[in-house]
Symmetry: C2
Subunit: 347 residues, 2 copies
Amino acid sequence: MKQRRVTIKQVAEEAGVSITTVSHVLNNVPGLRVNPVTRQRIQDVSARLGYVPNGLAQSLRTRRSNTIGLIGDEIVTTPFAGKLVLGAQEVALTRDTVMFVVSTGYQRDVENREIEELLRRQVDGILYASMFHRELELPSQLASVPTVFLNAQCTTPGVPWVAPDEAAGGHDAADTLIAAGHRRLGFINNIDDIPASAGRLEGFRARMFEAGLSARDLAVVAVESDAAGGYAAAMRLLAGPDRPTGVFCFNDRIAMGAYRAAAELRLRIPQDVSIVGFDNQEYVADGLYPGLTTIELPHYDMGVWAAQKLFKKINGTIGDTPTALLRGPVIHRSSVAPPSDAAPAAH
Amino acid sequence: MKQRRVTIKQVAEEAGVSITTVSHVLNNVPGLRVNPVTRQRIQDVSARLGYVPNGLAQSLRTRRSNTIGLIGDEIVTTPFAGKLVLGAQEVALTRDTVMFVVSTGYQRDVENREIEELLRRQVDGILYASMFHRELELPSQLASVPTVFLNAQCTTPGVPWVAPDEAAGGHDAADTLIAAGHRRLGFINNIDDIPASAGRLEGFRARMFEAGLSARDLAVVAVESDAAGGYAAAMRLLAGPDRPTGVFCFNDRIAMGAYRAAAELRLRIPQDVSIVGFDNQEYVADGLYPGLTTIELPHYDMGVWAAQKLFKKINGTIGDTPTALLRGPVIHRSSVAPPSDAAPAAH
DNA sequence: TTGTAGGCGTTATCAA
DNA sequence: TTGATAACGCCTACAA
């Protein structure tokens, strides 16, 4: 924004018409007939001069900035954020709008500051994202701007939100194990009290019951959700004689630890134990050997959903307050197989 | 940007002064004395009404949008991008500016489109980022906007850029192995012809020569840079009797494969083989067991550097065309130890 | 110490 | 079919 760019006025002069006419043809004002030769001349001149309309002036006049803000806690720092942002960005581009992205680092004052910067720039709407699925309330400054929550449930009424369907994820995890023939199962859960841990467990159990299994067929242990936690938990889970033949890990990092435990216990995956992870984390799920079968979080889809709803809200073409729990696909790799006969017999 | 927000005019009326005065006190115009009581009244009214200046109008008038664009190939999709963006964002916020971030997905037409959207919005400058270190030329549309390259060397003169110091990285990798006492080394390199592979090898060799080692003391093998490639390469490298006691992997994913190979070969890490990775990739370097000693890429620092230079360029307070190769720290974990006596004797 | 007025680059209303 | 002209909300000489 340093040296002056060419303005509509220059185009008008060069083409020998008024700026009104230039504006008309360049914006393709509907139901307005312009002499074809004039129109052509204007377009030529505009192209020759490399005219690009000043969006700030346009926005000032039209009260629409074609700009949205994406604000998140760690939105930009974490490997998971990518797809979320990408999904939103792609639908935004479709609407000729571009996205400010800012991350707060979980600091309230930074968040306030950033929200103000966004509002000052007259964003048409805001996507308020969380790095992990949780419940959040609407920051008060956002009350007057179209907002939708991304990867978080909004406790304030009237705000659309999307989050992963954790129960479905747990259900699908159980399903892939059960479908392979497993009947003695394990679940290494996260220790935190968040929707993901409760939801996945619930969904997992539900699928077990559908299969006629009982609560006694599932061993649950909760740990810190990293590789070390997964290792410790799996050592406990897989050491006994009645060990589960299929274990579901809260996330791929836990699964990574479980792989190590299995190796130490001389248990082959998937012949001796089947493992299902969660997240389909790039470079870990596919880097493990054998490849980890895992449930993917619908980050991209959530980004798309949220952005679409946001535009509807901006355009006022939204009735109620939509809300969605999205299911992610299960990514089949090689860590699940039928239980071997050599495994300890059922109790 | 839907319902009208409060304007400076309303504040002025409410406070019983002219908009000029409001503007003056709110902008703290230097060297301008305003009656303290008037000033206070204005500030009170402004706060009470929740006045936020319209940035579009300000920018239109001041020819400065306080906005920059970050455009990258996969900048937003990849786990590596995060810190890059974060570093840039943090210095931006320091300047009261906020960042548009867009990613092109390596598609030329998308890139053109996005650049135009950014220019139309009068960004003050642009950060042009690459996901991996490489040489790039300046897109012609960017010729007239302050631009700096991020994680890429710019072949067009006059454009500042930052990239990782690959040679230093290779040097440091060799150093941590050599310092531990290793003298028979291996390097599992990437197969692509990019600055990283050439630079790291060069730096590695340089450090070896400093230590009095010769080219014969290094076994190099190049593979696809993923876990599978690393596995295959390590199997080859570590199978022979004269195997290296310390191996440097082009990245952490390759190291992940090397870990598996070592395990299969019944080689303990670090007692039998020491491993050094590259990237310090979140959740893999620290998820591996034992923890992987690795070289971190200076993503955050590059983001900071680039943004700082960009602002200098925007403000015209830059002389020549700065350029930098930044070195990342080595992250010591547990995969490096002195070679054991039990290892095969030197040739 | 405070106010008037012009202009930033557009779009939109209304005439011509 | 085209053109004046008034906003949009703010900043900033210049005047009072």
